[in-house]
């Protein structure tokens, strides 16, 4: 019982960390129709900035997260202008190739400047010690990840479904020329949602660093995981991404606890079964 509970807690926290990173990718893929395999690279950049700020400069964890998000978005803006804008309406294969190329470049350059070692982000004492919930105690960091995930999910849902920006975004996605004719500045909408996605990636990279450690091959190592999670959930759907992250996170963590020899076997078996049963993902929209 004790094991089952701790597995469940770990799986839940891991799924939430996955969700924070992947929801940005889900938005770019579902709403902007860009297969951005470099999403993990932005999470990694966020992790590096936070590690540099919190460990080398001695700023706090919160400052690290803030700097990571702002810095990564600032780095991503020129990329969006120069590279991404040219592949918005190209084929999936072009998008996959260009973003794999960006990932490779980021990995090579990161390693050149920061070296091949693992980077840690020191946790503040409040998050590092266990927190008593009454019936059992849980690592404070896990609780923080779970809370952040819930806040991100709720906030995004509110932003997309309930605000003016969300209405403009959905209009631009549904029919860009018509939205433009009605006076929606689609370019700005796209740029803003791209920045939002990148900011979330950086946030997730920092928050999830305990589960997915920051190192130069991070972007490549988890690229497949992120892509798979999003496509299982159905690109563009927040509940879908949440369900997929929790489901696959649970399967992955449970598999690793109970039969560690099998590695990712059960994870990918589940992916094949889900994609075969739901070719558009758990809650994907019709294309």
């Amino acid at each position: 019982m004790q094991t089952a509970l701790s597995i469940a807690m770990d799986a839940f926290a891991y799924g939430m960390a996955l969700f924070i990173i992947c929801i940005g990718l889900s938005l770019t893929m579902g709403l902007m129709r860009v297969v951005n395999l470099a999403h993990g690279a932005f999470a990694m950049i966020g992790g590096y900035i936070a590690s540099y700020a919190a460990r080398d400069l001695g700023l706090g964890y919160g400052f690290g997260i803030l700097l990571a998000m702002v810095g990564t978005v600032l780095l991503a803006i020129p990329l969006e202008r120069l590279l991404y804008r040219r592949i918005y309406d190209r084929s999936e294969l072009s998008q996959v190739l260009m973003t794999i190329g960006i990932t490779f470049c980021v990995i090579g350059i990161t390693n050149y400047f920061f070296g091949p070692t693992l980077k840690t982000i020191p946790l503040p004492p409040e998050l590092a010690r266990p927190i008593d919930l009454g019936f059992r105690s849980i690592a404070g960091h896990r609780l923080f990840v779970i809370a952040s995930g819930l806040v991100v999910a709720g906030g995004l849902w509110f932003l997309i479904e309930r605000t003016g920006f969300g209405i403009h975004l959905r209009a631009a996605v549904e029919n860009a020329p018509m939205a433009r004719a009605l006076g929606v500045r689609t370019e700005i909408i796209y740029a803003a949602s791209f920045a939002l996605a990148i900011g979330l990636a950086a946030f997730g990279g920092v928050v999830g660093a305990e589960f997915l450690p920051i190192e130069p091959y991070y972007a490549l190592r988890y690229m497949v995981t992120f892509l798979v999670v999003v496509s299982v959930g159905g690109a563009g759907s927040i509940p879908g991404a949440l369900a997929a992250c929790l489901l696959l996170g649970a399967i992955d963590v449970t598999g690793r606890y109970l039969v560690p020899d099998f590695g990712n076997f059960f994870f990918y078996l589940a992916v094949i079964l889900v994609v075969c049963t739901f070719p558009r993902g758990l809650m994907g929209r019709a294309q």
């Binding site: 294969l93 990995i107 090579g108 892509l227 094949i272 993902g281």
Partner: protein
């Protein structure tokens, strides 16, 4: 203008055949030049040939059918492991091993094709990744058969025709591989130009129109998957025979992604492009990765970005374009 666009019957019939012969002779000449110029690197050159078979097989699926796949390593690895396991268990005749590899690849192609064709677009890509990762873990786990992460070793192929041994310098392996490549390439030229190949191209360009002609896409695409699996399996079997080791890397996401990069560099939907891309990228890797693997990654990344931006049809497509521009004046202004 009008007579320029009319087909010239005699030339139309002869030219492709003549061009194919010239192409095959060129491949043979380049291969033999490699044999003469780099006698110390024949093991590496044999690896290039085996990967070239993998990239050709990927071109059949991506270039001719329009199915994006990042899991072609599943077919290659199936061939490699089948040939390796057969060899360890006493089947040592090289030609038979290649056939075993081809059969295993074809069966794997049938299986992966059946699964992958259930989805379209991105989920299809994800399925291909999931399949190759699943097989990777399975091969790792079944270490009593596959050797697990240590790799499968201890295979000693019999001499070719009972005379030419697979020696330390890899001379027979290289020439054997070159001959295999030429035979496969000729067969693929024939297949891609046959009515079946044309239907595949049609399905890539305009699936709706092809189905309106009364053609059911699934069996056609599945057939191409089987052919592709046979070609990739032969590549894997060749690698197993030449290096006498089969590692887990032969059935990985990395080798699949590399194959796609090579194909895109050379030019999708172009069999010569597959060869050009393989040779250029593997030669570059041989030189640059020896200095620093991270520089290699940066370089490949930059090359990929540049290709998507400036040469979406790859090197061979760009060469074609240049050739068309140069010869346009002679044939009259063609669209």
């Amino acid at each position: 203008m009008a007579e320029a666009t009319l087909p010239r019957p005699s030339a139309h019939r002869l030219r492709p055949l003549g061009r194919d012969l010239i192409g095959l002779v060129l491949i043979a000449l380049v291969g033999l030049a490699g044999y003469v110029l780099f006698p110390d690197n024949l093991a590496f050159l044999t690896r290039v040939i085996s990967v070239a078979l993998l990239v050709l097989s990927l071109d059949l699926i991506v270039g001719f059918c329009g199915i994006a796949s990042l899991g072609q390593g599943a077919l290659y690895g199936a061939g490699a492991y089948a040939a390796g396991i057969a060899c360890v268990h006493g089947v040592t005749e090289p030609f038979l091993l290649i056939l075993i590899g081809a059969a295993a690849g074809a069966v794997m192609g049938l299986l992966t094709g059946t699964v992958m064709l259930r989805a379209h677009g991105l989920p299809q890509l994800v399925l291909s990744i999931a399949i190759v990762q699943l097989l990777h873990e399975a091969a790792n786990k079944a270490s009593s058969i596959t050797g697990g992460s240590d790799g499968l070793s201890g295979m000693i192929p019999a001499p070719l025709f009972g005379i030419f041994e697979f020696d330390l310098w890899g001379r027979s392996a290289y020439l054997f591989g070159l001959a295999l490549l030429i035979v496969v390439f000729a067969a693929l030229r024939f297949i891609t130009r046959s009515p079946f190949g044309m239907i595949c191209r049609g399905l890539k360009e305009d699936p709706l129109r092809i189905s309106a002609l009364g053609i059911f896409a699934f069996p056609v695409l599945l057939k191409m998957f089987v052919i592709s699996g046979a070609v990739a399996g032969m590549g894997g079997a060749l690698a197993a025979i030449a290096t006498q080791v089969v590692g887990l890397d032969s059935i990985s996401f990395e080798i699949s992604a590399n194959a796609l990069v090579m194909l895109v560099l050379g030019g999708i939907g172009h069999l010569y492009g597959a060869l050009i891309g393989t040779v250029i990228l593997m030669a570059l890797e041989h030189v640059v990765a020896a200095i620093n693997p991270f520089h290699w990654m940066t370089l490949v990344g930059a090359v990929l970005i540049a290709i998507v931006l400036f040469a979406p049809r790859g090197l061979s497509g760009t060469l074609d374009e240049a050739a068309r521009l140069l010869t346009r004046n002679r044939w009259g202004a063609r669209p």
